[in-house]
Amino acid sequence: MAEIMIAMKQLTKAYKSMGDEVQALRGVSLDIEKGESVAVMGQSGSGKSTLLSILGGLNPPTSGSVEVDGIDVYALSQEMRADFRREYLGFVFQQFQLIPYLTALENVMLPLTTIRKSNKEKREIAGSVLCRVGLAGKMNRLPNQLSGGEQERVAIARAIVNEPPVVLADEPTGSLDTKTGDEIMALFQRLNQDGLTVLMVTHNPDNTRYMSRTIIMKDGQLCTDKAELLQLVSAGKR
């Protein structure tokens, strides 16, 4: 039996919006195996991003638990959770979220900032990861000197530079053209083949082609409607 990397149990999340209580998650339970790549789809407001943020240790659930590699994420203190994120998770955000005043290399070095390594070592590690994502010649460029696809690659390099077992991606191809989006998805597929567990929130059914599993969220719950699932997956394969 495959090892479980992420275990979510009965997650709920409620928050106040304009005085009303909104249930963003209503009892989500999901196990993701080590080395799996999972696409999370669903309409806006279905709870995809909330699920991702809870899984990323950034947003405590109202109830339920999340375990990553056997660690109960929300049993950790806030500062311990920061250390946990650094060691276990890589984030690829919507719109890349690169730091505009740092070069590509420096952006990739960011997660290494607080660990005890010499600057030279950090540069070498970040440089080799940038080579891995195909940006060997553009290390010293600022984000605004890079194309959208290149910025996405920098964001991916930053997510994996610490060699985390899990990468969480939020709409990584949302602002890219189809060709570039496909290249990025191929990169994710390659990283997954190298052993990385990937959980990706996406609106684009095409992206499901590159993932080993697709789950759909609807009204804060996992959708169990097989027909809807099949329709989405087949749309992606067309």
């Binding site: 991003s49 500062e79 920061a82 994120r85 979220q97 005043y101 290494l112 900032t113 600057n119």
Partner: protein, 436 residues
């Protein structure tokens, strides 16, 4: 990549905003440094001036209740024969252990003489105050005394064509006692070269006009003939109406050998404490009055203290405003960087790491602000100080003030950065990244 790289890069990227923060600190520190520089320089200059001002200790005979006023100073009635000071008292001053703090010892004998005619009852005769002094020491305790210049002498000569009618002028032909004008010119240039013989006198400007005498003239004092070696420049002081001559000559003229009316001392209190010096003098001269003229020094000191208070208040106010500018600007910058801080937190920065970045930014700008503030403040003090203080002052470059300025800037910068740093550390990363 270290935290300070992030802080430094952010500063370089937000140049305008950071320039604003820098200016806030710079103006505050520069104000403080310039005020401090000017006040310190003024204090030094005033101490020097007070030290140079002349007599600040007066020694008079212990004369009980009888007093009179000399140059605005109330003194025992020295003209009466009570206890008299003598040359021995002057010699005793030389032996005190704090002697090096005394720049000048000026003993003097005051008395009245009759100028002009042979007797006090003569119609042309006039009572004049004669002061026997040790000339070189006297000029040190009264640095405002100068000899009248040759031009003033000539203009005076032209303005009084009927000099022969002046009653007090002696009728003895001038060729009999030739005046050495070359010596007078030398003395005009350099007072330390002024040496009077016992037959020569210096006459105060007002008295010279009254008596109608000028340089080279002969003047009879109580029946004894003297040559007017020089006329003193008008100084607005008591000397304008006095005749100065050598102490020994005065003692002979007044028939009071060895006697001294009072002794003026010019003490430099930067070289020794005032209390110690006074107690040593009182010990060495047990039967005399030793009076310290501290009023002038105290008055000046009080003025400086007021200036310091005013300067400090203004500086503190400006520094406070600077601190607010730094705090508000940094706080605004943190709000602008919400998503960036969210990214830092998401990729594993602790709250303390985020706070450190903001504090480091504050620190870097503060160090820069402190250093530049010092130089700007010193430049202001250097160029504007003499105008502000209305006196010629020299503002010294001092390493400890530089260090203090930088430390103060750091303190203010860090204090002002605490709130923005806490604000940044408290940011909810999920909210910052709009996950919710």
């Amino acid at each position: 990549m270290q935290l300070y790289h992030i802080a430094l890069n952010n500063i370089l990227r937000r140049k305008v905003k950071m320039l604003f923060v820098l200016l806030g600190l710079l103006i505050g520190i520069a104000t403080m440094v310039s005020v401090y520089g000017v006040v310190e320089a003024m204090r030094t200059e005033m101490t020097r001036q007070v030290a140079q001002f002349g007599a600040n200790v007066i020694i008079t005979p212990d004369a009980g209740e009888l007093t009179f006023s000399y140059g605005g100073i109330t003194l025992p009635a020295v003209l009466f024969d009570v206890e008299q000071l003598t040359g021995e008292d002057v010699a005793a001053i030389e032996n005190i252990s704090l002697r090096e703090a005394i720049r000048a010892v000026a003993p003097k004998l005051l008395g009245l003489a009759v100028a002009g005619g042979g007797h006090l009852g003569d119609a042309n005769a006039q009572n004049v105050v004669v002061v026997g002094v040790n000339l070189q020491q006297e000029f040190m305790v009264k640095p405002w005394l100068r000899l009248r210049s040759a031009e003033e002498m000539q203009s005076d000569e032209q303005n009084t064509p009927e000099r022969s009618n002046v009653p007090a002028a002696d009728t003895v032909p001038e060729e009999e006692k030739e005046m050495d004008f070359a010596m007078l010119d030398l003395a005009r240039e350099d007072l330390t070269r002024l040496v009077l013989s016992d037959e020569q006198i210096l006459v105060g400007s007002t008295l010279a006009a009254t008596l109608g005498v000028m340089e080279g003239d002969l003047l009879t004092l109580s029946g004894q003939e003297f040559q007017v070696f020089a006329v003193l420049k008008d100084s607005g002081s008591a000397e304008d109406e006095q005749i100065l001559l050598n102490l020994s000559a005065a003692q002979a003229l007044l028939g009071r050998p060895e006697q001294v009316t009072l002794i003026e001392l010019a003490a430099d209190f930067t070289l020794g404490s005032e209390e110690v010096l006074l107690s040593q003098l009182r010990e060495a001269l047990p039967n005399v009055e030793v009076t310290s003229l501290r009023q002038e020094a105290l008055r000046r000191d009080e003025m400086i203290t007021r200036l310091v208070r005013f300067g400090t208040s203004v500086s503190v106010l400006i520094l406070f405003v600077g601190m607010l500018v730094v705090g508000l600007t940094m706080s605004g910058a943190v709000r602008e960087r919400t998503r960036e801080i969210g990214v830092f937190r998401a990729i594993g920065f602790r709250k303390s790491d985020v706070a450190k970045i903001i504090l480091l930014e504050g620190l870097i700008v503060s160090v820069l602000g402190g250093m530049l503030g010092y130089f700007v403040g010193m430049a202001v003090a250097y160029y504007a100080g003499p105008l502000l203080a209305n006196m010629s002052i020299q503002v010294p470059w001092r390493l400890e003030i530089f260090g203090l300025a930088v430390l103060l800037a750091i303190l203010i910068g860090l204090l002002a950065s605490i709130v923005p740093a806490r604000q940044a550390a408290k940011l909810d990363p999920a909210e910052a990244l709009r996950f919710i």
